[in-house]
């Protein structure tokens, strides 16, 4: 039975707007995400400090304080609802009990705010994908995977309403591909390796949610380790922006696999490929942009909001600002951002505001150009019309490169010479790719021997697809 999606859930780009998704998600304390309202998703983390038995009391104190402040702010601003994201730090996944303890603590705060003030809310918990410790990483066996699995189980039991992960399968090859601008390795990583790990991993995650009674929603994954790495490197002028744009599009083919294996949304905030996923799956998406400048700079500040269902600050440390602590300040900022979107929606004008948010960024960066509603929809369509993971990845790449080329030719997008050079290289590279993934295997097995472990991707059944 094929699990490949062959149809779009959103029938035309005009239906891709913020706040509304064809398949809303109910979870947490009376939250319904994607049903017409955009909610803030507030993310927070520790300031620079060690996590150890000795400091654990302090760690707990920080989370208590962050939860208290953020919820106080949400109540005071009469937010229609709020999602908190708890991204475990690596030691909290290494010792799963720690992650579960914080999960329970946050859940208690949400429960209290719901009871006392009627604040609707949900808690997203994101264990760290620690499976890439080995060289090559072992993804399906070994201690790291055991701990990761246990972390999911305990966090689900401790009250997570949504679980997510930023999974790393394929990244070991993708990193090299990026550094050398080597498109063949990039496609192999995103189209052949990552989807296999995603399918396997998300089958497990969905099963864990179901086994625990189904109260916890399997949210989604993000191509953070792939496309955001490329975006950050492009931001630092280390990689061409056109490469980051094409990688982003191709990464959607990878992140989609979570949904084909149980995820129902809301997708993870840092998955800027979200609009493409929303077009394909109809599931609500979390996005981040200008109000996540605390965590990442990006050329996607406004356009990222255009189709979001949750609006996030990505991550901010519990440091003191002049007004109060940073997580509280970001809770306020996001609440106002959401209010504006919700006002436009209430006035039946979501599409107009969406188009302004898009126009703001669209032609100032190739990375933005491929994320407008029409562009996302075009890439989404290319993906569902293609075959396996490899072909979907290639199709997305071709679609993105095509969008950029047309924009350049028609004078909407102006690129410096060195970016144009790379756009040509990418186009040529895509054209030269074999039509089926088998055509890449020998080359990649040789080139990256020792870098990735084939059995982590199901080898010797590698050839069976995911």
């Amino acid at each position: 039975m094929s699990t490949y999606t062959c149809e779009l859930a959103v029938s035309n780009p005009d239906e891709l707007v913020f706040g509304s998704a064809p398949k809303p998600v109910r979870c947490g304390f009376d939250m319904e995400i994607g049903a017409g309202t955009v909610f803030p998703e507030v993310n927070f983390t520790l300031p620079a400090m060690e996590i150890s038995d000795a400091t654990w009391g302090e760690v707990v104190g920080h989370y208590e304080e962050m939860a208290r402040n953020v919820l106080k702010r949400a109540v005071s601003l009469q937010a229609p609802g709020i999602v908190l994201e708890f991204e475990l730090l690596p030691p909290m996944t290494e010792r799963p009990e720690w992650g579960a303890e914080i999960t329970a603590l946050l859940r208690r705060h949400l429960a209290a705010a719901y009871e006392k003030s009627g604040l609707k809310s949900a808690l997203r918990v994101t264990p760290t994908d620690i499976r890439d410790q080995g060289k090559p990483p072992l993804l399906r066996t070994g201690e790291a995977w055991e701990k990761l699995k246990r972390s999911f189980e305990l966090c689900i039991a401790a009250g997570a309403d949504i679980v997510s992960i930023e999974s790393v399968g394929g990244k070991e090859v993708h990193d090299l591909g990026l550094m050398y601008g080597d498109l063949r390795s990039i496609v192999f990583a995103l189209g052949c390796l990552a989807p296999r790990d995603m399918a396997w991993l998300w089958d497990h995650i969905s099963a864990m949610c179901a086994e625990a009674g189904g109260r916890t929603v399997p949210g989604g994954d993000t191509a953070c380790g792939f496309a955001n790495t490329a975006m950050q490197l492009a931001h630092q002028k280390m990689l061409p922006e056109v490469l980051a744009a094409v990688v982003r599009a191709m990464s959607a083919a990878r992140s989609l696999v979570a949904f084909e294996h149980g995820a129902v949304g809301p997708s993870k905030d840092c998955a800027y490929e979200g609009p493409i996923l929303k077009a394909i799956t109809g599931c609500p998406i979390s996005m981040e942009g200008k109000s996540a400048a605390c965590a990442h700079f990006s050329p996607l500040g406004n356009i990222a909001a255009a189709m979001c269902d949750l609006w996030s600050n990505e991550s901010v440390q519990n440091v003191r600002l002049l007004s109060g602590n940073a997580p509280e300040a970001y809770a306020e900022l996001l609440s106002y951002d959401c209010r504006l979107m919700n006002v436009a929606a209430r006035n039946g004008q979501s599409k107009l505001l969406r188009d302004w948010l898009t126009e703001s960024d669209e032609w100032l960066s190739p990375q933005a150009a491929i994320l407008s509603a029409p562009a996302a929809w075009e890439i989404a369509e290319a993906i569902v019309n293609a075959g396996d993971g490899y072909q979907r990845c290639l199709a997305a790449g071709h679609a993105a490169a095509g969008i950029l080329r047309r924009a350049v030719d028609e004078g909407r997008l102006r690129l410096p010479a060195k970016e144009l050079l790379w756009l040509e290289r990418i186009e040529a590279g895509l054209r030269e790719m074999p039509s089926a993934e088998t055509g890449l295997w020998d080359e990649m097995l040789e080139k990256h021997a020792g870098v990735f472990e084939p059995s982590s991707y199901g080898w010797p059944h590698f050839d069976l697809g995911h």
Partner: protein, 215 residues
Amino acid sequence: MSEPSRLYQAILEGNAKDALAITQQALAEGANALELVNGHMIPAMDEVGRRFENEDYFVPELLLSARAMKAALDLIRPQLASSGAQPAGRVVIGTVKGDLHDIGKNLVASMLEGGGFEVHDLGADVPPEKFIEAVRTTGADIVALSALLTVTMPAMRTTIEALSQAGLRDRIKVMVGGAPVTDQYAREIGADGYSENASAAVALARRLMAARTAA
């Protein structure tokens, strides 16, 4: 002679195959190894660095050049050694314990290699003991630590302390970097230098070597 400027060109273009072939031929024709390195290869990498700084080159261009440089250097090294020439310095580099981010560290390592340093890359998630062992076995001049997580920054301090306890601190210079690290933090934990990016890291390493020789 026209070979070395073709060598310069091959490195600048990141063409490892050409760089190797040209070097081989030049050595066969009796070219002076040190002259090849100082007169053509290092200038080529300097130009690469300049283009990168100027944002004319991206990382892939830079890494391909560094790879070409390294290929040619590996070929020349025996001659260099027999002529008594030394690498610009010996560096042990790694991302500290608990931290798996290695892209930045890899870049720094490549740039240092391109800059003529002998680099021993210990990878990511490296415990202090491993740094100590590597300093002992390689006779390193510099230890370079990378961290990308605020929760692993303290491991930089621990590593430096471990180097002290192992009696190695005086023998080496420590440089640190990674997005959350600051100059101030570097000073606080007793590192000898900090740099914001990979090309600045090469300049820093050269300064540290000079300070070391001066001292």
